[in-house]
């Protein structure tokens, strides 16, 4: 479980986060949704410590991450996996080296053990036999899958995904979403996902937080979202008039 408490963050004059509190639950896919520029990425980066909040606190299972120094944070970092928007694979390394990197850096495993673990992860994301390929040779969807494999190689307790579906076709998006969902349940991870993909909300939105103009505007699950008929969230989800009418008519 991850709690964020009253997170505030400004860049210069612009206050991006104006006091956000939320709880992200274990074994669930927790979604952060909102318009482009609403602060989803900043929220995620604040949670993992890539951005320092001006105010507020991030708590991992009772441990206050915000108050820790670099050394103390390292222990929590070992329990965090993150999938970046473009995959953020290390260009100069093969797929295998990418996934093995956290093992090389942080474990005392033998090469055989590491290779086995790498192959388990590759199999988990359906990318067997790509070990020797370089990131430049992979498609966007494949990069994301390798990114997921690298994120889970140390069996993290917390998984963060920044727009796992951006740049992917709807079919591939679904595959990635389901992969994340299955892994979350399998390892009972606390997963936090940034998205503006409505398919994801409906598909894996166990718990959804809607950000609007720097505030948490709404919080609930996917069933509850479907009940909404007005307001900012309604506008956001049923963006086109066509969908709005469809929704209103369905209610009648």
């Amino acid at each position: 479980m991850i709690e964020i408490k009253n997170i505030k963050k400004s860049f210069g004059e612009q206050q991006v986060l104006k006091g956000i509190s939320a709880v992200f639950k274990e074994g669930k896919c927790n979604l952060i949704i909102g318009k482009s520029g609403s602060g989803k990425t900043v929220t995620l980066k604040t949670m993992v410590g890539l951005v320092e909040p001006d105010e507020g606190e991030v708590v991992y299972d009772g441990r206050s991450f915000t108050k820790m120094n670099f050394k103390e944070r390292k222990f929590i970092r070992r329990e965090i996996g993150m999938l970046f928007q473009g995959g953020a694979l290390f260009d100069s390394m093969t797929v295998e080296d990418n996934i093995r990197f956290p093992l090389d850096m942080f474990t005392g495993m033998t090469l055989a053990e590491k290779t086995e673990q790498v192959n388990i992860c590759l199999k988990r994301v359906n990318m067997v036999n790509t070990n020797k390929k370089y990131p430049g040779e992979l498609s966007g969807g494949m990069k994301k899958r390798v990114g997921i494999a690298r994120a889970i190689v140390l069996n993290p307790k917390y998984l963060f995904c920044d727009e796992p579906n951006s740049g992917l076709d709807p079919k591939t998006s679904l595959v990635i979403d389901e992969l994340i969902q299955h892994i979350t349940e399998e390892y009972q991870m606390t997963t936090v996902i940034n998205t503006h993909d409505m398919n994801s909300v409906m598909g894996i939105g166990d718990h959804v937080v809607f950000l609007h103009e720097g505030y948490k505007y709404w919080e609930g699950n996917r069933e509850e979202i479907m009940q909404i008929t007005e307001g900012e969230l309604f506008d956001f989800i049923f963006a086109s008039d066509f969908l709005k009418n469809l929704r209103r008519n369905a209610k009648v």
């Binding site: 890539l50 970046f84 953020a88 956290p102």
Partner: protein
């Protein structure tokens, strides 16, 4: 203000770059990779340029000395050797490397920053300044002096070829000059320059690349800025080293 920020940021980066590594094996592996990158990657261009610099030095100086006519031509060996060791090899090689290695480093780190690879390392708990910057500086400090020594050797060879082919002096005269008036201090000064230059060549582009923000355009800009700033720093530091170590 921006200037002071940059100096502060640069010094902080350097301090972190040499903090204690978490896993020495990984750092040595990265340092070795960088050494190969910088060294092997620059071998041919340094070889070509230093050979011709040596040759043209011999030809130019011979031409001038001949027209004065007061000095024996066997001095040429000594003049070429001294010129290369004290000034030409370290400075020209370093300016060359500022362009080649500097832009490489700035571009590599810049694109790692933009594509969130640096963030990915940070998330894992890797101290990126020590893992990405430290090995590059260390590798440069080891490899750049080697390249410069090679530049001296090839420059001397080039000087011989230029002078003999231009009928300015004979091989025997040149060799006599090479052995004359040897000073260990010159070589010491050269190595002092090498270390300073290597540090500048790697660290300034690291700073520029590491701190890129924005998009692909910014990477190009950072890379250009890195090369310009590195070159300027090189000639300034070159002057001060010469001034303090060679001046009376």
């Amino acid at each position: 203000m921006k200037f002071l920020d940059d100096i502060g940021g640069y010094l902080i980066m350097i301090r972190h770059a040499f903090s204690r590594p978490e896993k020495t094996a990984m750092y040595s592996k990265e340092t070795f990779r960088q050494m190969v990158d910088i060294g092997i990657g620059s071998l041919s261009i340094v070889a070509i340029i230093s050979t011709f610099i040596g040759a043209v030095t011999a030809v130019q100086f011979s031409y001038q000395l001949k027209s004065i006519g007061l000095v024996p031509m066997w001095w040429m060996g000594s003049i070429v050797r001294k010129g290369l060791i004290l000034e030409l090899a370290p400075t020209i090689t370093s300016l060359l490397l500022a362009g080649k290695v500097g832009s490489n480093i700035a571009t590599e780190l810049g694109s790692m920053r933009i594509s969130e690879q640096i963030d990915a390392y940070e998330i894992m708990g890797v101290n990126t300044r020590s893992y990405l910057v430290g090995p590059k500086i260390l590798a440069a400090v080891v490899v750049v002096p080697m390249l410069i020594v090679m530049a001296v050797a090839l420059g001397i060879l080039g000087g011989w070829a230029g002078g003999v082919l231009g009928h300015f002096f004979t091989t025997a005269e040149y060799v006599r000059g090479l052995q004359d008036n040897m000073k260990n201090w010159d070589v010491t000064v050269m190595f002092i320059k090498c270390v300073f230059f290597a540090f500048i060549i790697a660290s300034i582009p690291c700073y520029k690349g590491y701190n890129v923000s924005g998009g692909a355009l910014e990477i190009g800009r950072a890379s250009t800025q890195a090369v310009v700033l590195t070159s300027i720093m090189l000639v300034i530091v070159n002057f001060f080293i010469a001034f303090f170590l060679l001046g009376e």
